[in-house]
């Protein structure tokens, strides 16, 4: 990637803007076009662009695969959790009106939180899909078949553990 200087400079300039724009789409979704899914895709695309230009290993230092898996669970937990909170506050499941003393404010808060949940999950599921495909050539082609026997198990572990070159 040494000689793609234009790509690298432009990407460095663009990526912060892309991520910022994702947040704008996320939180302005109540009033304009946008929302969690679109924002998540834009955010994920920003991270993927970084990985494409600077390499898989560089991004994995900051956004580790386990963090990616973790966050894709957290988003869904946030979504479903908001529903449970409205249950505890005496409303039906996902009835945002009960989230706050003022029903209108409650509706605002509810949609904001669940869209955030959607955004987090979508962004990190995108990245995790990218990791799975981008890491495939390096890691998975040489993995011996998973037969359940102990000998091959060790060989599999060795390959799966190894960081891609």
């Amino acid at each position: 990637m040494e000689h793609h200087i234009v790509l690298r400079v432009v990407a460095k300039l663009l990526i912060p803007v892309i991520l910022l724009f994702a947040l704008y789409v996320q939180f302005h979704g109540d009033y304009g076009p946008g929302g969690g899914f679109q924002a998540g895709v834009i955010f994920g695309a920003g991270l993927i662009l970084y990985a494409l230009i600077f390499g898989l290993q560089t991004i994995k230092k900051v956004v580790t695969p386990s963090f990616v898996h973790y966050m894709s669970g957290v988003g869904l937990l946030l979504y479903a959790g908001v529903g449970v909170i409205s249950l505890f506050k005496g409303g039906n499941y996902l009835d945002y009106s009960f989230l706050s003393a003022d029903p209108v404010h409650g509706q605002h808060l509810g949609i904001l939180l669940i869209e955030l949940g959607v955004g987090i999950t979508v962004a990190f599921v995108m990245v995790s899909l990218f990791y799975a495909f981008a890491g495939y050539r390096q890691a998975d082609l040489k993995v011996p078949p998973d037969t359940g026997h102990e000998a091959t198990e060790k060989a599999r572990d060795a390959v799966l553990e190894r960081e891609p070159q």
Binding site: L76, A80, N92
Partner: protein, 490 residues
């Protein structure tokens, strides 16, 4: 009042637990979480069944939006009965899942099995409980996607192709369902099941509604593995981890059959779906072909798991025949067979799970002499097999009995004869296993009996097979009530 929120909790609790599994990641903890959540779901489902049986249907407005516009969860005896089947199967199988999954799946991926399992459970319970046809599609996708994942985590590489095959067929099915729902929405402007049932008669004679109906029937039949659309099932069942096969065999196709019932009898009327569209004839013919051809194919399988998979397609044939008769007895036979088949197939696949655990194979030739080395496992297999054949004092007998009664009610002696004759084919394929396991000697000399944690759930189901076969009053009364309710329109 917590009981008013039970319909939501039925789906929400496993939905919350699934991402929690991804966050926790530790194999044993995720298993414990999945087990706990599944049993809670089972308890909720039982409560819902009792409540709907005595107090009539329940309705829950999700998000506080009233029914025709918002999503409604509508619980009545029919779907409460299916909820009990699905969550019950999941709870019992999960007990044995830990040992079996750890054996068959890479340790780094075991938490994914439980995540997929819980998502699949969420999806299946959601399909069953919801009263909104678009919501059905959403939950169907949740259940399907997670079951592709579950199949792909099987012990050898062929699981990947099996999962891909399942994905292609399943996606076609789901797309057809979506097109069907879209066409209905276009004509009626509503997605709520009860609302649809009221509006469809007015537009029932249009080509659009008929096309929508055709798409829905094809899509759901594909998911239910109704005879010529069963192509995905044998591979998926054969190559999935044993515990997953047991879970899927007891739940996934059952939920699809339930959907067929719901669409045929509640959303479209019985007269439209069975008489006008002539599905009574089509389903009857397909059902009869299924019970014979699939049992014959099962006889020639060398892999026991695959043999039982083909037998599952044959058993779906019995349910379809019950539906096609469209009488109270016929539907009762179909619905009670949902429950009974879940019990027997699940028990049989769990017994196979025990065998895989010790022998690492379910090829018929490797099972020679296993009856002496693993007496409890094979005894369970034999009783499960008897139940599959339909021997009196097992649940299989109850299903066949009601099916034969329903055929006789219409004076269709030939059908009664065919049901009995096809059971004889089941005798052949079960006997092949029994013969190999007990009367042949083979190289399994130093195999031990399976561990208790695998045997206990298997035997719980076997005892249930006998218990509900001897005193079938409860299951029959639930099934009859469900059948009556389906036949009386909204």
């Amino acid at each position: 009042m917590i009981s008013a929120h039970l319909p939501a909790l039925q789906v929400v609790i496993p939905l919350l637990a699934a991402p929690a599994c991804v966050v926790v990641r530790q194999s044993t903890l995720t298993w414990l979480l999945a087990l706990l959540v599944s049993w809670i779901s089972f308890a909720i489902a039982l409560t819902l069944l009792v409540q709907t049986f005595f107090n009539g249907p329940m309705s829950y407005e999700l998000g506080g939006w009233a029914a025709p516009l918002g999503i409604e969860y509508a619980v009545d005896v029919v779907n409460a009965f299916v909820l009990v089947i699905v969550s019950g199967v999941s709870s019992v199988v999960l007990i044995s899942a830990k040992e079996s999954i750890e054996r068959e799946t890479h340790i780094k991926r075991t938490h994914l099995v439980y995540t997929g399992w819980l998502l699949c459970l969420t999806g299946l319970l959601g399909i069953t409980i919801t009263g909104d046809v678009f919501n059905v599609f959403v939950f169907l996708e949740i259940a399907s996607l997670s079951s592709y994942l579950l199949v792909s985590l099987g012990p050898d590489r062929r699981a990947l192709t099996a999962a891909f095959q399942y994905l292609v067929m399943g996606t076609i099915g789901a797309t057809f369902i979506l097109i069907g729902v879209g066409l209905l929405y276009m004509m009626t402007g509503t997605l709520n099941m009860a609302d649809l049932a009221q509006r469809i008669p007015g537009v029932a004679q249009t080509t659009t509604v008929r096309a929508g109906f055709a798409f829905l029937v094809l899509g759901i039949s594909l998911k239910a593995a109704v005879f010529p659309l069963h192509y995905w099932l044998p591979n998926a069942y054969t190559f999935a981890p044993s515990a997953v096969t047991a879970f899927m065999a007891g739940s996934a196709t059952k939920v699809s059959i339930y959907l067929l019932l719901r669409f045929f009898f509640d959303i479209f009327s019985e007269t439209f779906s069975l008489r006008t569209m002539r599905l009574d004839l089509i389903l009857l013919i397909l059902g009869v072909i299924a019970i014979f051809s699939m049992s014959l194919v099962a006889i020639y399988q060398s892999n026991v798991k695959r043999m039982l998979a083909y037998s599952s397609v044959a058993q779906v044939g019995y349910m379809v025949i019950g539906i096609s008769l469209a009488t109270t007895t016929g539907l009762t036979a179909g619905i009670v067979h949902l429950f009974n088949h879940a019990l027997m197939k699940c028990a049989l696949f769990l017994a196979l799970g025990c065998i895989v655990f010790r022998l690492n194979s379910v090829d018929l030739k490797d099972l020679a002499g296993v009856g002496r080395r693993m007496p409890w496992t094979m005894a369970a297999f034999v009783i499960g097999g008897l139940s599959l054949i339909g021997v009196p004092a097992t649940v299989g007998f109850i299903s066949k009995w009601y099916l034969v009664l329903a055929a006789l009610e219409r004076d269709w002696w030939w059908l009664a004869f065919m049901v009995v004759a096809s059971s004889l084919l089941a005798v052949i394929y079960i006997w092949r296993v029994v013969e190999t396991a007990y009367f042949k000697t083979g190289p399994v000399a130093n195999t031990e009996e399976a561990p208790l944690i695998l045997l206990v759930p298997t035997w719980v189901l076997i005892v249930a097979n006998i218990y509900f076969g001897v005193s079938a009053v409860d299951t029959i009364s639930f099934a009859t009530r469900a059948a009556d309710q389906l036949l009386s329109t909204f």
